[in-house]
Subunit: 421 residues, 2 copies
């Protein structure tokens, strides 16, 4: 099966946004064993959209379209596909209800153009939009398979995962041996160091395949195999996972595609432990990441964003002498990180207290360079650990890598203390 | 002039990397007044690459290729283009010296395949690579203009800026006027409602053009015009901006492409005002967004993530009776939002205190549905405003839309109070 991805939207051709949809869909299709031969981007223009569709139909079996299904006059994707297939469009009853409800619940007047978001092509399967309004479409026609998805990634991704993938498996991929994968997630190690540790394994085996890739301070290794049943696949995948685990015991934190914050929440939930946090330069990013995990309320009580020295003193009892004065270590110091972690742990009466203080930039002082960050972990009845980080990158990347690094250290602290005891 | 961008590389089709080159080139071409009608991605495959080139030659005047000019056997871009134009390839003397020097300076033996990186098409202009080894190419042939650039962005970008742009201006764009744009940013209004308000304007004028699009809870409108000089362009753009401003005075928060958190930081900095925040269901997201803006420390002191009721009582003095008990309004209520905003404002001694408490889901109680959120703004010496939001979507989208909504209300509160006084 050969696929082509067509992203529709003048904003892509103007460079206002990057085509992350094509990347996401390419990754997904690769894991399904479908080869992507072309990605195309075309503007909100009927004749060029039809030209792209005609071409895709000639050279691919599966055509996936994203974008151009919103309420406005220049959202033309469904019209163009309907024309190509010589079919009509009609309002889908359920999709229209979904749009209506949206406006009724908000007490907003629905403008007429919003009805366009409930349009489906005659004979197609509507794909529900759980995070937005415009309904998607899936249709097979003369041996070709067409999928129409929304443009915004937060609508496109769940619609592909929850709706389009199943439709493809049921309609287009009925004869293929399915691919099964396990995602192994690593923290506290870079992609090239990890690859070096796995080099013998990677070079000496073809099934399951081993594919490492790095993303936002985490490394993922996808191991995949084709098999007639999930059971047979899992025997091969589990054996390889055990080999990898033995080579990287300190870094493998999950056997599914979850961020480390999810692994932390699970780890603490299992053990009935709690934590709280005090953040300065990350401004709440760690707490935001933790609370993005459903169910985090069981283990995470809350904390303090002590962005100013004033709040460090007032809410976290940091001695004024540590923060200001000629010989004071200053807000960005191991001493202050230690007090912040211990104080927030006591305020929250939690098992762990985490803290972050550092220079995320671009502003800096002469004594403290951009990228210098202290993180600390206070534990009930134990000595507080403080770590100094020296990070490269811009403000955003320093903040994100600080949070990943501290969460990794918390994970390791818990796991190692159990191995020792 | 119409352009097409062809990115060559199987890693793009596998989704291993995102096509940021296409975004960069599209932006650059737009500012040069060149319309990009298609972006294509094709793998390292000779026949499909030739097919893409043939098609691009039929539908575009300028064809920009990136990738596939490295040393390995699957780097085929120059071979494919030479074949299309029926020209030969030869080693460029200066480019070969550049490659040789690289290896000599590092004392590494140069393998034979590295010579491929110095290949140029007969009759082309070599484009020097200041940050890598492979030489680029520019060539005009039968009224079409071809540019060959490397794949790695750190080589492609400087080669485009320093070499290709000048070549295009000298060869292809001798008669064109440049395009100038202004980005207008709106909050507190959806894309379709905004478009309806601007419909007459959009329908009745072609210069400047008006292009709305939505992204993550914000709406952007780009207005663009071609003009011989920036001064003449700005006269037209400023006049249109004033018309749009008059139609949407409550929603236009910036005349440049910045998120609302940046507009808030600027607004408060100008006025010497400060704020603090108390967040429950958003877990620190608002504070994280604010502190992502460099310089936010002047206006933002910090705040409290009161995820648990325990911390709401202990740190923010929320009366126990409001939180628990049969007739208590509960943590997710207008009453609690009000106390949180007022208390955090007093603790921080700031001009404004913001608060958020709600049900982000997926868990919910019988009395409080997912998506019910209360946000409040306390002001020194004024009555606290509390708003009830009823949001759809998943946990992530409810949290993000809550934050955007509260920031919009803060912006509006400040701007409106000045209009009234």
């Amino acid at each position: 099966m050969k696929a082509e991805i067509i992203a529709v939207g003048t904003e892509l051709l103007l460079g206002q946004i990057v085509n992350s949809n094509a990347q996401f869909l390419s990754q997904e299709l690769a894991t399904m064993g479908i080869d992507v031969y072309f990605q195309t981007v075309v503007g909100d223009n009927m004749s060029r959209l039809q030209e792209s569709l005609e071409l895709a139909r000639q050279r691919a079996d599966i055509i996936i379209l994203t974008g151009g299904i919103g309420p406005t006059q220049d959202d033309l994707t469904k019209d163009a596909l309907a024309a190509l297939l010589s079919r009509t469009l009609h309002i889908d009853r359920l999709a229209m209800e979904h749009v209506d409800n949206f406006f009724v619940q908000r007490g907003i007047h629905m403008t007429e153009n919003n009805r366009r978001q409930a349009l489906v092509i005659e004979g197609s399967t509507p794909l529900a939009n759980s995070t937005g309004l415009a309904v998607g479409n899936a249709i097979s026609h003369e041996g070709k398979y067409y999928i129409v998805l929304p443009g915004p990634p937060k609508e496109m991704k769940p619609m592909f995962q929850d709706e389009a993938k199943r439709w493809l498996l049921q309609h287009a991929l009925t004869n293929e041996m399915p691919i099964y994968s396990t995602m192994l997630k690593f923290a506290g190690i870079g992609e090239s160091a990890l690859e070096e540790r796995l080099l013998d394994l990677i070079n000496n085996q073809n099934d399951p395949t081993i594919a490492p890739y790095a993303k936002e301070g985490e490394v993922t290794v996808r191991i995949s195999t084709k098999a007639p049943s999930k059971k047979e696949a899992m025997i091969k995948l589990d054996a390889l996972e055990a080999q990898i685990q033995a080579l990287l015991p300190d870094h493998l934190y999950a056997s599914e595609d979850v961020p480390i914050e999810k692994a932390i929440v699970d780890l603490l939930t299992d053990r009935g432990l709690t934590f709280s946090a005090a953040e300065s330069c990350t401004g709440g990013l760690l707490m935001e990441r933790i609370t993005s995990v459903p169910g985090s309320a069981t283990v995470f009580l809350g904390g303090i964003v002590c962005y100013s020295n004033q709040l460090k003193e007032k809410l976290l009892n940091v001695p004024h002498d540590l923060l200001e004065g000629e010989d004071a270590p200053g807000a960005v110091s191991a001493e202050v990180a230690e007090v912040l972690a211990e104080q927030v742990r006591m305020i929250g009466d939690t098992d762990f207290g985490l803290s972050i203080t550092g220079v995320a930039g671009p502003a800096y002082s002469e004594r403290k360079p951009v990228g210098l960050v202290y993180v600390a972990i206070a534990q009930r009845g134990k000595k507080t650990e403080v770590h100094e980080l020296n990070l490269n990158g811009n403000r955003d990347s320093i903040r994100h890598r600080t949070v990943k690094s501290l969460l990794y250290r918390l994970w390791r602290t818990i796991v190692l203390s159990e191995q020792l005891s």
